[in-house]
Amino acid sequence: MIRKLILPIAIIIIWEAVALYVHNPFVLPTLESILSVLLMPTADLLGSGSLLENARVSLFRVALGFVIAALLAVPLGVAMGRWEGFKEIFEGLISALRPVPPLAWVPLAMAWLKIGLASVVFIIALGAFFPILLSTMQGVRGVKRSWQEAVWMMGANDADLIAKVILPGSAPEIWTGMRVGFGIAWMCVVAAEMLPGTSSGLGYLIMYAYGWGQIQVVVAGMVAIGLLGILIDRFFMGVERRWFSWRARER
């Protein structure tokens, strides 16, 4: 336990020491100033809403993009994992698009969808799409033949097999894909919000605060972003432990 605290405590001490020495809040704000922002999450910051408000906006955007990505990626992943024909049709396009970073799509997104919610959600969905798709495909292919045959012997048709064997059997992998996808989506939303055109959200907030030299808001914003990312990741892990522990025992 002590070992885990060494580094954080050291960082806090060094930060505060350097901040006091440098004595320049535009470069290194004191921990006190950062903390005062964090401890009043509902206070309005620079006229662009509070920490909580902007967090809510970012979360909404990421949730929307994520859900859209999942609704597209899971069925496609099941189809590509189950039927070789499907895989052959789509895999060329997928492997071509996958290496393109989601943020590289920003100009195109703005050209197609104009500045606004649609283009931001588009980028987020793109970011989450590929990990979910790939994990779904892998999960489906990993579903044991013997499970499928055993259930087929009980009179199951294709729909039964998918509902009762393939989906539950690949759920752990799909969930992992969603966890990774969410992580990427969260990074995308923050980055997308920093680009011109947005006027809310945590990414926007820290960029705006920088413009006003309020670096303590920048750092506070970063802490908030990191905290939310961790919390949501913990949620994914919690569900995995509760529902998918069978996967580990199976191995």
Partner: protein, 262 residues
């Protein structure tokens, strides 16, 4: 507990089953015949053992009977109807070598899965599933997950699952080969008891001569390359069979002799 519900007698017929694969032999494709012209009739309530050296295609044969694989020639008829028709599957229950229970479902949920697919109501299917769990002695494990059970218990659950849809035929593919000898002996005894109680026909693929003689009424001995019926032996030893008794050991000698010449 009534299991012998007045069922119509059913027959399983194998007519000229041949199975060949194409294999690469150097530059050309050669047909490798795995099974050749196998014909067999299995009656209701019979226990038929299929024995043969490795590679004789006995698992392939069982899979063809189950409808999991298609023969290259010939057909399998259940009660006169081709087994490839959807309705036939539920008249046969299959037990695999590795239990193939779904790990995310409890034992009870696994056993009642077949009934779930048949759209039986929850209370009815749980009741039925419990009956069969009782028969195999797993009532106390009903709500456990498969990974919490020992190998022997998992196979029992697999048996209960196969029985739940009340098929006329049970197909078993070396179901006990992964178990330790003690557990294996125990479950063999249980299978005999279950078979008598439920009057199923069983087609058992095994490579244990003892197991085959212990359980079967008839033994189909296959030769390898290609898999052909070498001999069909009637096992008319009295039950309960003692694997140490004279008649048993003599039968074993005979069977080993037939296998050895493969």
């Amino acid at each position: 507990m009534v299991f012998l519900e007045g069922k119509r007698e059913m027959t399983l017929q194998l007519v000229g089953i041949t199975k060949s694969f194409e294999q690469a032999d150097g530059k050309s494709l050669v047909a490798k015949v795995v099974l050749q012209d196998i014909s067999l009739t299995i009656d209701d309530r019979e226990v038929v053992g299929i024995l043969g050296p490795s590679g004789c295609g006995k698992t392939t044969l069982l899979r063809i009977i189950a409808g999991l694989d298609q023969p290259t020639e010939g057909e399998v008829l259940l009660d006169g109807e081709a087994v490839s028709k959807p309705g036939a599957r539920t008249k046969m229950g299959m037990i695999f070598q590795e239990h193939a229970l779904l790990p995310w479902r409890s034992v009870l949920e696994n056993v009642s899965l077949g009934l779930e697919i048949q759209d039986v109501s929850r209370s009815k299917r749980e009741e039925k599933a419990m009956r069969y769990l009782e028969l195999v002695g797993l009532v106390s494990s009903a709500h456990s997950r498969p990974y919490e059970l020992s190998g022997g218990m998992r196979q029992r659950a697999a048996v209960a699952r196969a029985l739940a849809l009340e098929p006329s035929f049970l197909l078993m593919d070396e179901p006990f080969s992964a178990l330790d000898p003690q557990t294996r002996k125990q479950i063999q005894t249980d299978i005999i008891r279950i078979q008598e109680k439920t009057a199923k026909a069983i087609v058992l693929v095994t490579h244990s001569v003892e197991e085959a003689i212990l359980l079967a009424d008839r033994l189909v001995i296959l030769s390898a390359n290609p898999g052909k019926v070498r001999r069909i032996l009637e096992i008319d030893l009295e039950r309960p069979r003692d694997s140490m008794s004279r008649p048993f050991l003599e039968m074993r000698k005979e069977v080993l002799g037939l296998l050895g010449g493969g």
